[in-house]
Symmetry: C2
Subunit: 472 residues, 2 copies
């Protein structure tokens, strides 16, 4: 542990222990430097760390203060899906969400879309342009089926942050995380088999289950700790479950991160019942905690975890650069990738590889983590202000998605239909269930700039909700 | 028909009728202009057309001559695959071909790789660079699930050339032709069903059949006219065939183009037995005949043809820009695309759309058609010179792939193994069969510059073949 890390940890203990409370002024940099016999730079680094963790905030010309801990609204209830495998429905709604008209006049809170207006993304664009001008133009050639070596090396480097030991040969580049999830699912299952999923669950993964003729066994899920391991164990005992599909870190849509101990136990369960784990880590690098949480894969001893991710949420989705570390299933995943797309577009891979190698990725992600954390806090404030009092709201630990649970009699599909005429769009909860549950829930995105226009959108939703409550 | 087209057609008739023979000098431009009462420019245009068709060639300061018709070597035999549906094997060999080490010292004749060193491809690269520098950067956004509208409009425009009436809403952009084939196959079949294929058949399409738990019914195929419609009819009567997968224009690997009348009858057969047709047209625009041949889709009255193509063979495979016109199966194809990759990379789509709109695509393809036709003739000469006398060779009507059938006792998998040590690679015939047929065949690529190094490679293969014949 470096000096500044030790100092930051000590200050963190004091804050969490209650020695310093929300709003308190923290000791000045000079004082700490003398007290701890460390340099000014070390104290500054320690404070920057606390700032990243959301524990302290600087005030101009005044020093650092303990951040006010928000009043946290009631969390959504633990989910209670059906206790049997089900066919996945809801494709029409997904299609509507995915193909909905692009209209600048609509405030869309529906998509998992990052903010890519940040200046820290500029070097990536310069890389793309430079590569397109370069000769010989490697961007035109067929890529290796595994994906560009340079990029796989960078992914291995980044994985150190989540304590996930990888080798470039373990990594297969894909067309976004969607191909990673799809190729993984097809590699480990056969039509008719059963897959356990956290619930609510990302609709893209649910549609993979549907398209492959599988059945989904939805497992109760806690809004802070994720998939219920007790319920999962019962399901594994009762049903021939071939694979478990989870998003354990910065979950979509609930925003939780499973505790490390849960992740470890999840792997042990999968071992005991010889199931594969498909781990969707697409938002993992956007965790508000630094260093970022470990992956489930980092506890994997026998290669049964297929770790899927992408640069779509951290950089930009239009690049379609994703990857999977498929463990023991590598050959089957390669076959599915070959069959599905042949290889990945070369130019975006090379641009991302250079961007990561030059440190641009880390700079960008550091910035976005802070932006999204601010975005979450602002969104929470707006939701409390404009939504009905009984609303339950998730408390995201990373990423930019928030889950809202309304009164039982609200139907968010109907709400969305009404909102469209008012220029606002949300992602209705049914998309996240195999069979039409979560009808009173919705997912919102706080990734963009928190403009008055967005607050207006939320105000509109709140007003419409009030109207629906009164039967209008 | 334009004036110059009428004149070219008339001259073509005279050449094919034998009025002018190989090596004859054709009438001068002035004479034709007077005879036919058309402008000098019109005659020049007509001669350019004949040149493109490979019927005439200019000689400096002397005028146009009838091109010497080559001695055409014996064609491969009509294929005789097994008369029952089979599981597709051979994935390991495909993997070896696809993942083989990239080594500049190896002369690789194995891949379906275009030449992308041509100067006519430069504007595409400039487009890519300009788009990467542009703001707002649409290349970063999620693309519409259908693909960029601009590109779909250009694809519709190009399809006029093959008499295929399309509307932008009929077109879905994919990650190369492979995703088009894969999504199409998954849209029209369920695991366990039977698919009829021309034989030999492109290994990528065969692996789609394998990965989806389907069985392949290989149909005898003529090296000049393609899939045997009589054999196909028998198969359709005998087996519950859900789909027919063919590459009817500039076939891979045989190089034939099915006559229009066969294409029309193929559609009628599919209608009668209510089967879908998956048409792989990836080399279609590289036909040596101009205007290019019609698609099977152009005869399709009830939307049962899924026309698959891509810019991988005409421009560059690293772009991963393909497309499918799925007819009545559009919604199912969209679902499979959504599940497989979510959407396609945006930047390469936009670059291709601009390149086509600016006329760059047509300029480039015109040039490449001539280059590949020259390449074919040179390759034929080299094969006759260096390969055993009894070798049977296809006569490609477009594209840059040639099929070679050797004596029955030659095993091209073993040949390839020996060649690797000698710095040459081929695509062994077994890849193109569901079950290990075509062991005495190979596919070669003549897309690159016909350098002495390539001739040396063929000489090496010939020498090794001689050695194998003598049991060494």
């Amino acid at each position: 542990m470096k000096l500044y890390e030790r100092l930051a940890a000590e200050l963190q203990q004091r804050i969490e222990g209650g020695l310093y409370r929300g709003g308190d002024r923290l000791p000045s940099i000079r004082v700490l430097s003398q007290e701890h016999k460390v340099s000014i730079a070390t104290v500054q680094e320690a404070y920057r760390r606390l700032e990243e963790q959301g524990l302290a905030e600087p005030r101009p010309k005044s020093g650092y203060y303990v951040r006010q801990q928000r009043h946290v609204p009631t969390l959504p209830a633990v989910s209670r899906p059906a206790q049997r495998p089900l066919e996945v429905s809801q494709w029409e709604q997904v299609l509507e969400l995915v193909c909905g008209p692009h209209d600048d006049k609509v405030v869309t809170l529906a998509h998992g879309m990052p903010d890519f207006g940040a200046p820290t993304l500029k070097p990536l664009l310069r890389q793309l342009a430079a590569l397109a001008r370069g000769t010989p133009m490697r961007g035109l050639e067929y890529d290796n089926l595994h994906g560009c070596r340079e990029l796989r090396e960078q992914i291995v480097r980044l994985a150190v942050d989540s304590s996930t030991p990888l080798h470039p040969d373990d990594v297969v580049i894909t067309a976004g995380c969607q191909e990673a999830l799809s190729a993984s699912m097809r590699a480990v299952t056969r039509p008719g088999e059963v897959v356990a999923v956290d619930s609510p669950s990302y609709y893209g993964a649910m549609q993979v289950i549907r398209a492959n003729g599988l059945r989904a066994m939805e497992i109760p899920t806690h809004p802070e700790t994720g998939i219920s391991l007790e319920a999962l164990e019962l399901a594994l005992e009762q049903w021939p479950i071939r694979a478990v599909q989870v998003t354990p870190t910065c979950n979509n849509p609930l925003g939780y991160t499973m505790p490390d101990e849960h992740k470890r136990r999840l792997v042990a369960l999968a071992q005991r019942f010889d199931a594969a784990i498909i781990e969707d880590d697409i938002y993992g690098d956007l965790s508000f905690r630094y260093p970022r949480p470990r992956t489930v894969k980092s506890f994997d001893a026998d290669g049964r975890v297929l770790l899927c991710s992408s640069f779509s949420k951290t950089l930009a989705p239009g690049l379609r650069v994703g990857w999977v570390a498929p463990g023991r299933y590598r050959d089957a995943v390669l076959h599915m990738k070959y069959v599905g797309t042949g290889s990945s577009a070369t130019l975006p891979q090379l641009a991302v590889a250079h961007f990561v190698a030059d440190g641009g990725y880390e700079r960008h992600v550091r910035r976005m983590r802070l932006q999204y954390q601010r975005g979450r806090d602002i969104m929470l404030g707006w939701l409390e202000r404009h939504f009905p009092a009984a609303t339950r709201i998730s408390y995201p630990q990373g990423g930019y998605l928030i889950w809202v649970e309304l009164a039982d009699d609200i139907d968010t599909v109907e709400l969305n239909r009404r909102l469209l005429a008012l220029g606002v769009r949300i992602a209705p909860g049914v998309l996240f269930s195999a069979s039409g549950k979560y009808r009173n829930c919705m997912r919102l995105n706080y990734g963009g700039e928190p403009t008055p226009r967005v607050e207006d959108g939320l105000r509109t939703i709140g007003a419409e909700l009030a109207r629906m409550r009164h039967g209008a």
